[in-house]
């Protein structure tokens, strides 16, 4: 089984430096792209590869790139941003990619920037990722020294400046427009969808935003072709995926596996199954802001469409496992406290509704729940749903709660009836 993304990871040591990366074929794709491929060639490759955005929404990458306006008469500079603000609880895939092989990301960025004719790149990184930041900074320095970044790259006349922007730590910056506001120095609040960022993004200029994992795939698509990339997958979405598992499993961690690997396989073969004495009760398959899936869904292949069909979202592909010895109300309370804290405060339902949700869940968990609280939670799930809020934060935050109320309703009722948490 091929594992292009993680093949050059050095387990337990420093990642490959530029020379080491070049030795294993690094920057070949970059050289090939800039010297012998046209922008249209690369665009076609990426489209044909069926690569979908790895940030959570799963938007086809080629389509997103082609929404950048034509270079002719375009306002300049044009920007490319790599979203490395991985703050979804349960997600750590971008971290291992950046720590494991920083040059892979930079190479992907260069090829992408070349394809969409962007001249300034940002890597917007989560502030806690200090190790990744140090490694990326070193890699950027090396790439500048070797002429992969900066002025007239590889003598092709293409210029790219790349900067690492360390976030001050807000979950909302995972929302692309809030991220843009944040780089500009404004409050990290989302922007309205019109105009699209590709038309008017960072400082009003055409801006493309891609997830770290998405960009890491690009060199391999260029090197090996679209067909090869599609062949990596078990489903129609191309490529491999870094899947992660957290929770009380024997071997939590993350692995590069074909897209479309089933939840059961990931959980049992790679994460080693549940710890002794524990039973599987449910999982948030795509990170904290996705709906619970339960026993009956274990054979769902992990790809965008299948997970959606099962009633949840593929998200970042990093599962959180709930076992039978952990209180689901407590778990959801933990998540809602996080989302409530991370609300940017812009729109009413999210700003006011999330703290209220968290307070109700805390009360239930503390044995102070009231029967009508369930109705109120239902009401909150409805009122914080899609279309009601300005961005997707609150609807995402409601997904684990909504599904918990569906699958673990008896646990909520037990808390309220017994006036205590049955797990304590």
């Amino acid at each position: 089984m091929e594992k292009p993304l993680t093949q050059h990871f050095v387990i337990g040591g420093e990642p490959l430096d530029l020379a080491g990366y070049e030795k294993v074929g690094g920057y070949e794709a970059c050289r090939k792209s800039l010297k012998s491929l046209t922008r249209d060639d690369i665009m076609k490759l990426v489209k044909d590869s069926n690569l979908r955005g790895r940030g959570g929404a799963g938007f086809p990458t080629g389509l997103k790139w082609s929404s950048m306006p034509s270079s002719q008469n375009s306002p300049r500079p044009r920007y490319l941003i790599a979203d490395a603000d991985e703050m979804e609880p349960g997600a750590f895939k971008d971290r291992i990619l950046m720590e494991g092989n920083p040059h892979q990301l930079i190479e992907g960025l260069i090829i992408c920037a070349y394809t969409v004719d962007a001249e300034i790149g940002f890597i917007f990184i989560r502030s806690e990722y200090t190790k990744a930041a140090a490694r990326i900074n070193k890699a950027i320095r090396e790439a500048y020294e070797k002429g992969y970044l900066g002025f007239n790259i590889l003598g092709t006349g293409f210029n790219l400046d790349l900067k690492l922007h360390i976030s001050s730590g807000r979950y909302i910056c995972g929302e692309g427009t809030a991220l843009t506001n944040s780089i500009e120095g404004h409050r990290a609040i989302p922007r309205h969808k019109a105009p699209r960022q590709t038309e008017s993004g960072l400082w009003g200029m055409p801006t493309l935003l891609n997830n770290v994992e998405t960009l890491c795939n690009i060199p391999h698509v260029v090197n090996n072709g679209a067909e090869w990339f599609r062949g990596l997958s078990k489903c129609k979405d191309g490529g491999t995926k870094i899947f992660g598992v957290s929770g009380k499993v024997r071997n939590p961690g993350c692995w590069e596996l074909p897209m479309g690997t089933t939840i059961r396989e990931i959980l049992e073969e790679h994460a080693g199954g549940m710890r002794d004495g524990l039973k599987f009760r449910g999982t948030l398959p795509g990170g904290a802001s996705t709906d619970f899936l339960v026993e009956q869904h274990l054979d769902t292949p992990m790809d965008y469409d299948s997970v959606q069909k099962a009633g949840s979202r593929f998200g970042t592909g990093t599962m959180i496992i709930l076992d039978n010895q952990t209180c689901p109300v407590g778990m959801v309370h933990n998540l809602e406290s996080f989302f409530s804290r991370e609300s940017c405060g812009w729109c009413t339902p999210c700003r006011e509704g999330l703290p209220w949700t968290a307070k109700i869940l805390a009360a239930i968990e503390d044995g102070k729940g009231e029967p009508r609280d369930i109705d109120t939670l239902d009401f909150l799930v409805r009122s914080l749903g899609p279309g009601r809020t300005f961005c997707a934060l609150a609807p995402g935050a409601m997904e684990p709660l909504r599904s918990a109320l569906k699958f673990f309703r008896e646990d909520f009722d037990a808390h309220i009836k017994e006036k205590r948490c049955p797990w304590r």
């Binding site: 922007r191 405060g345 009413t348 700003r351 209220w356 809020t389 300005f390």
Partner: protein
């Protein structure tokens, strides 16, 4: 026009607007908080949700925010669907999680948009059982009270203060449900438009601190439409009164003029009406006895008798008009003393400038734009005017004008202009052209393309050159440096490329050359077929009206007094000490045999009066005023006649009565006086139509100044009488001092309060507009008196001044205006006076160095007729050799500007 379907009923609406304004324009009640008609949509509060359907077959629909959704042709929405109702109530419930239940003691109660929207949404029962969040409030200075616990985080305040008004000392802090709107730390809000927070805030976070000191509920106030007396713009206001004192000023929407916003001088300057320097009694000074005579009360009949004696004696009586008195008062005085004995109550240079402004506006070809038109200008040149300090509300409009040009970027991306968040994201820091030439740095410099501080004559010269660059027929300035010529050429090119360029100038730097230069630039632009506007600021609320009536020069008036050929001198609402230097004024008043002052404030002139007739302030006067645009507007008194105070024109009428004039009845009321004015001066022909006549009735009823009848108001005087007294008559207007009458929407110039069923706050203005952001129903108040003549009899001014040269021993003294302090009346109020700077003289740092003076050290300045000693303030932007003297901050403030002065060395 677009056809939209609201709950399956088709409606025709204007293209290009959002669903919220379309629905509100149609008269539907859709609740909203963060949307503001002037600041548009950002989609934060989620209150204005509606359900949108793809087409006829779509029965599920999806929830959208009406403020963020275009009302394009074929749009189908439901504004009253079950989901919508539940969601709107949910939004209110969310807001109420933390909103204190303090309505009964809240300043906003009874005129609170949050209350109205809560009732509208149907939310009644609070399910939240957890503790509320609390905040620490800040002291925001003398104007605004801060109560953050009431905040519902609609972000309107910060959007107004920072984005709209350009303020910097106010922001939003914090995240999630700990959002805070305020300053970094306690302190006065410095922006000149901070008072608008009172009306922008949908609830009681920002309330009027001056009202708080003498608090009255909206329904307890007696209110009337008025015109702001504190600068030449004539913004429309609503004045609120109770028990004979003015309690507050609110904005009165006028689509063409002030829109939704006032400046702080206009909003808080009213306190002088209640101050202890008010003259409330008829006073006379008996000079027959001791030399040290005091003004003492006298019976009205006795006073009028002695007045008639004076006139009957046959000795000449002369009158001095006033730029802050109504047209009717000025004209009555002119008629009483005779045109040959009527003098303009402003300094000669100012009279010259005002006359020139009138001449330029009349001859055209440029017209004077309304503030709305100013906002739509796409290139602006300011010559010599510190607008923020001389005509503050104009500065707010100019600040919006720089957003016009960048809107092209927005249009290109096909983003509607009302999508404010997106617009600001696209526009970023791009600004349209704004060039400012002024003697000192101004508050608009932060949005200017280019600013340059020059002496007034140099400002005029660059203006002349710009005109020449636009049209070679205009005279060139031959001896200009290459730099300036290049700059002039650049500006000329920019103005030529604009579709609606605007030139702003005025009396602010005291130079007629600057006024001429501004005229040349617009004339040149017009000659090139541009729709150029020309906006002149004038110092006072009726400067232009007085100028249109005309009269003799004040210097001639003084000469007549000095030559002792005058028996009696009548001064109408004017303080001579503001018109001429103290030495001169003292001389004049000492030489005056008999001084009669008609005024409402005990000024230094009034103190010297032999007879003092107490007139009404703006709150006690019905009358007409002409603003700097040339718009004539009517203000209506709000305080019923009390004691001996009566309108100035009534005093003059009383004198006429005692003289038994046969043309008497013509002066009995403002309408008759208006007819006479219109007959004598063609320019005042529209005057009688400025507002509905006193005989006007709506459904046979007058328009009441008081709100609907309720028991609280009827018991107002219960300590005096338990019977409800008969309301005072008001024969001069169609308004009544009563609760009875037509409580619906009156003609626009009679709007005494904004209120509609279910809409108790000032947001109810949307019910008075013909469409959202459009004119008031029936047309906006006011009549433009001056339009450029079609015959086009104009020529270029050719009198180009010599370049300014710093002199070794002489300093060019120019005026420096302050929004708080330079205007006579507002400065008397306690709130405004807290904001008035200390007197100073401003000089360039290098000049200070050569004088060996540090900031704050005193320096002695001597001019032709004065000498003063004042602390130095170092002003970096001031050109060398120029001295800026703040207007109005001195007890001896009638300086002539500009003039050459000396510094007396220690």
């Amino acid at each position: 026009m677009a056809t939209i379907f609201i709950d399956n009923v088709p409606y025709h609406v204007q293209d290009g607007q959002n669903l919220l304004s379309a629905c509100l324009s149609l008269g539907f009640n859709i609740p909203y908080f963060c949307w503001h008609p002037a600041m548009h949509a950002v989609g934060a509060c989620r209150m204005c949700a509606v359900k949108q359907f793809r087409d006829e077959s779509d029965t599920r629909g999806s929830i959208v925010m009406s403020c963020m959704t275009p009302a394009s042709d074929g749009t189908r929405v439901s504004i009253d669907d079950d989901d919508i109702r539940e969601f709107r109530a949910a939004v209110i419930e969310f807001l109420m999680l933390n909103h204190p239940h303090d309505c009964p003691v809240c300043d906003e109660g009874g005129e609170c948009h949050l209350q109205d929207m809560t009732v509208l949404s149907g939310h009644v029962y609070r399910r939240n059982r957890f503790k509320k969040r609390t905040y620490i409030n800040q002291n925001l200075g003398p104007f605004i009270n801060h109560e953050m616990n009431r905040c519902i985080q609609c972000y309107r305040c910060v959007r107004f203060y920072r984005d709209y008004a350009g303020g910097r000392d106010f922001n939003v802090f914090g995240v999630h449900d700990r959002i805070y709107f305020g300053r970094c730390s306690d302190g006065t809000l410095e922006n000149e438009f901070s008072g608008n927070l009172v009306e922008v805030c949908p609830t009681g976070v920002f309330t009027d601190k001056t009202l708080r000191k003498q608090y009255t509920r909206k329904w307890d106030l007696q209110t009337a439409p008025s015109v702001c007396p504190h600068c030449g713009l004539g913004c429309n206001t609503i004045v609120g009164e109770r028990y004979g004192s003015v309690r507050r000023i609110l904005n009165r929407y006028n689509h063409e003029l002030n829109g939704y916003f006032l400046c702080d001088r206009g909003r808080f300057g009213y306190e002088f009406v209640n101050c202890d320097r008010r003259i409330r009694q008829l006073l006379v000074k008996d000079k027959s006895g001791d030399s040290e005579a005091f003004l003492q009360p006298i019976e009205k009949q006795q006073a009028l008798h002695s007045l008639s004696e004076i006139f009957r004696s046959g000795a000449p009586v002369i009158g001095l008009g006033s730029p802050r008195a109504s047209l009717e008062a000025n004209f009555s005085l002119r008629s009483l003393v005779g045109p040959e004995n009527f003098y303009i109550g402003i300094s000669d240079p100012e009279f010259q400038m005002i006359s020139r402004i009138i001449e330029v506006l009349r001859n055209g070809p440029a017209h004077s734009p309304s503030l709305r038109e100013v906002e739509q200008s796409d290139a602006v040149l300011i010559l010599g005017e510190d607008v923020t300090n001389t005509a503050p509300r104009l500065a707010l409009s100019l600040r919006q004008s720089v957003r016009q040009k960048p809107m092209e970027m927005v249009d290109r991306l096909k983003v509607p202009r009302w999508l404010d968040g997106s617009v600001r994201q696209i526009v970023q820091e791009n600004k349209g052209p704004l060039y400012i030439f002024s003697p000192v740095a101004t508050r608009l410099d932060d949005v200017a393309t280019k600013t340059l501080q020059l002496a007034p004559d140099d400002i005029a010269r660059i203006g002349f050159q710009i005109a020449h660059e636009i049209d070679p027929e205009a005279p060139p300035v031959s001896d200009l440096t290459a730099n300036f010529r290049g700059l002039a050429a650049n500006i000329a090119e920019t103005l030529k490329q604009a579709s609606v360029p605007l030139v702003v100038s005025g009396t602010g730097c005291g130079s007629i050359h600057v006024i001429n230069a501004a005229a040349n630039v617009t004339r040149a632009l017009r000659s090139k077929g541009k729709r150029a506007g020309l906006s002149y600021t004038v110092p006072e609320c009726n400067s232009l009206g007085l100028g249109l009536i005309g009269g003799g020069n004040i210097s001639d008036c003084f000469q007549r007094i000095m030559s002792c050929s005058v028996n009696t001198f009548i001064v109408l609402e004017n303080d001579l000490y503001r018109r001429a230097e103290v030495q001169i004024t003292d001389q004049i008043l000492n030489n005056c045999k008999r001084l009669i002052v008609i005024d409402h404030i005990m000024s230094r002139t009034a103190e010297k009066a032999d007879i003092m007739l107490p007139s009404g302030t703006f709150a006690e006067t019905t009358g007409s005023f002409v603003n700097s645009e040339g718009r004539c507007q009517r203000q209506f008194r709000v305080i019923p006649p009390t004691g001996e105070i009566q309108e100035a024109h009534q005093w003059i009428f009383d004198i006429m009565t005692s003289l038994q004039w046969d043309t008497l009845r013509h002066f009995s009321d403002i309408e008759s006086i208006g007819e006479l004015l219109a007959a004598e001066f063609p320019v005042f022909k529209p005057l009688p139509e400025v507002a509905p006549r006193s005989s006007f009735r709506e459904f046979g009823q007058k328009i009441p100044r008081q709100s609907h009848r309720y028991s609280g108001r009827t018991s107002m005087l219960a300590n005096i009488t338990v019977n409800e007294p008969k309301p005072p008559d008001d024969p001069e207007s169609p308004l009544s001092f009563s609760m009875e009458g037509y409580q619906g929407i009156p003609p626009a110039s009679l709007i005494q309060r904004f209120w509609a069923p279910g809409w108790n706050s000032s947001q109810s203005v949307n019910k008075f507009q013909s469409e959202i952001n459009g004119p008031l129903i029936g047309g906006d108040p006011g009549q433009r008196l001056i339009e450029p003549s079609a015959s086009g009899k104009w020529s270029y001014f050719t009198d180009i001044p010599e370049p300014y040269k710093p002199q070794d021993d002489l300093w060019l003294m120019i005026p420096k205006f302050h929004v708080f302090g330079s205007e006579e009346l507002s400065s008397l109020g306690p709130a405004i006076s807290e904001r008035i700077p200390k007197p100073y003289v401003g000089i360039n740092p290098k000049d200070a160095e050569s004088l060996g003076k540090q900031e704050g050290e005193k320096v002695a300045v001597a001019g032709e007729n004065f000498s003063i000693s004042v602390p130095v303030r170092i002003i970096k932007s001031l050109p060398r050799g120029i001295m800026a003297l703040p207007v109005g901050l001195f007890t001896l403030d009638g300086f002539t500007f500009p003039q050459w002065v000396r510094i007396v060395r220690d």
